[in-house]
Symmetry: C2
């Protein structure tokens, strides 16, 4: 069964193919125009899936070049971005080449930024190999690299031609990364769809056991919600920011722990609990719903307790987040489960309370 | 007299203000939204015009930071691009900042690429200080940096909020740069408007003497033609390529002479003569019109004779040009003065003849 979600963006609209085996379905060839393909992948994914992709591409008669990045978020930097550009130039890729990202969010973000800026933009296809990338980073056109001063500070909005979310590719995913991806799936429930949030709780076991049907629904519904939000606000002038629910806290936690303690999804899990806590403190969310969010996240084996970090360091790290507008901190808070919104009416004292409550709030 | 040309691109439309003193007209403040401004300029322009710009900005109450690049095309590289990003981050510029480019094409292209990719895109205003930048690089949204292997290989399409083509700023332009800018003005006549081409010949003296009225008409009509073409084809899928008339030859000449022999406009002048020669050889342009093009360019004191370069080196250098599509060389040729078009039906033998004719063709 292939589920197709369209991201409706006028002349930049594109399909997300979701299902077991979509990569081998023959549709990939439809999205390659020229006679050149550059696959960007990494040293962990290549041994697992590069052969499959090469077999699929063999039919297209395109010349295929492969660039392998080292693995890890630390590699998402300007230096590797330049290495991809050098590679494209060295192999004489022209404006009608197709860049294919085969990997997780780091590979997709970097390959996408390279595709966005190589000769002012070439064709780009995403083949996300992690749950996190399938439900989040591969959809919506955000590409970026990190700067030593902050995550994703350099990048572009650049939509792919197509996304192939082949759920078979998730079979090789380590359990920890699988759970980290579920954090973003839960996020879609919290921000937009209470029924989906409840469905996730009900299908906790099926999801943890990676049942194919459950995965396809979880990925499909997540992509639908993301596509709806992105269609309303492609360049994040407003509503799109709700997709960052929990992320301002998460980015600060990741920065202050050197990007090597938590997977992104794990930091988001903690950040979503903190955002729920602040939403409750600001009188928006009931204590019960805040607790349900924390509990749901916990039942997927995700962390819900923030690490011991100084409030001041957190505030400072949150201040360099891209979501800061004109010096005022904007956050995504929830009025109820399924209804998140962007606000710059953040009560500094209550925020302080959320930050310093830390352990206490999460042990209660 | 302020002439306003609108570049009609839907929600990315923007005005070009053309005239003597438009920078001081008070309109700049309308295009600054946030409380931060980053001026990117260079060490040659800053002593001449930075004080004027700072005075204009003083009314806006925005915090203004200034980044000065060294002067020259050699500085248009990834390393200086990164330096601009580091500068924006160090001064805590947020997503609602406005980047202002004050300078020629190098400053505009780099500041624009930085604005396009800082936090995935911030507000951008162009204040071009050279004729070349006023009639060409500041209009149409092309931003880029060079790669050691070729010009503008890395960049983005990113439209500014507004362009201020203040003809007073051209007063300090060295005569050689002034003439180099006229090459691009002549280009608009050749590709789209025979009447304008004739007007330029008639106003040769007024333009060389920098008469204000003549300048304003030359800049205004050039921007109108460019805006019309860009509006039809923002991302250069087809017709926009005619703006590159003469440029494939020019880029090759610039690359093979180390970017330090010719100003860009001078290389374009030679390239336009070569493109006219090839158009004649391919039976498109009359010999008389080809000669008129060469003569018109020459009367503005621009070079019309290609340097002594091996044909093979030229062909190779032309092969890495962005205009190559799937390995086939596309060129812009002219059917008549005022009617250029894109073609990949380039006769290799006739091209060879144009390349090797070199001196002979230009002395005849």
């Amino acid at each position: 069964m292939t589920r197709i979600v369209t991201v409706p963006l006028g002349d930049r609209s594109y399909p997300i193919y979701i299902g077991a085996g979509v990569l081998r379905s023959g549709r990939l060839a439809e999205h390659i125009a020229g006679s050149q393909v550059a696959i960007v992948t990494n040293t962990v994914v290549a041994p697992l899936w590069l052969k499959t992709l090469n077999t699929v591409l063999a039919d297209s008669n395109a010349k295929v070049d492969v660039f392998e990045l080292p693995d890890g978020e630390a590699e998402k930097n300007l230096s590797n971005y330049e290495a991809i550009l050098d590679f494209l130039i060295a192999h004489k890729h022209n404006r009608s080449t197709t860049v294919i990202a085969l990997g997780g969010g780091v590979v997709g973000d970097m390959a996408g930024f390279a595709a966005a800026t190589y000769q002012r933009g070439v064709r780009f296809v995403q083949i996300p190999t992690t749950l996190l990338a399938q439900v989040d980073s591969s959809v919506g056109g955000k590409t970026a690299v990190n700067h030593p001063q902050g995550k994703n500070l350099i990048g572009a909005f650049y939509q792919p031609e197509a996304v192939f979310a082949d759920t078979e590719l998730l079979a090789t995913l380590p359990a920890r990364e699988w759970r980290a991806g579920i954090a973003e799936v839960i996020k879609y429930g919290i921000i937009q769809d209470c029924n989906f949030f409840n469905w996730l709780i009900e299908h906790n076991q099926a999801l943890l056991e990676m049942s194919s049907d459950a995965i396809i629904h979880a990925v499909g519904r997540s992509c639908e919600i993301k596509a709806e939000v992105v269609a309303q606000d492609e360049r994040e002038g407003g509503i799109r920011a709700i997709l960052n629910y929990g992320h301002t806290f998460a980015h600060a936690i990741e920065a202050l722990t050197g990007y090597n303690t938590y997977l992104h999804g794990e930091a988001v899990a903690i950040g979503m609990v903190m955002a729920a806590d602040l939403s409750w403190r600001q009188g928006l969310l009931t204590l019960n719903d805040s607790a349900r969010i924390k509990q749901a996240i916990g039942t997927f084996g995700l962390p819900v307790v923030p690490p011991a970090l100084e409030s001041e360091a957190m505030l400072n790290a949150m201040g360099m987040d891209k979501k800061v507008l004109d010096g005022r901190l904007r956050l995504i808070l929830a009025r109820s489960i399924g209804d998140a919104f962007v606000t710059d009416a953040v009560d500094q004292q209550l925020l302080q309370a959320t930050l310093s409550a830390g352990k206490r709030l999460c042990d209660d």
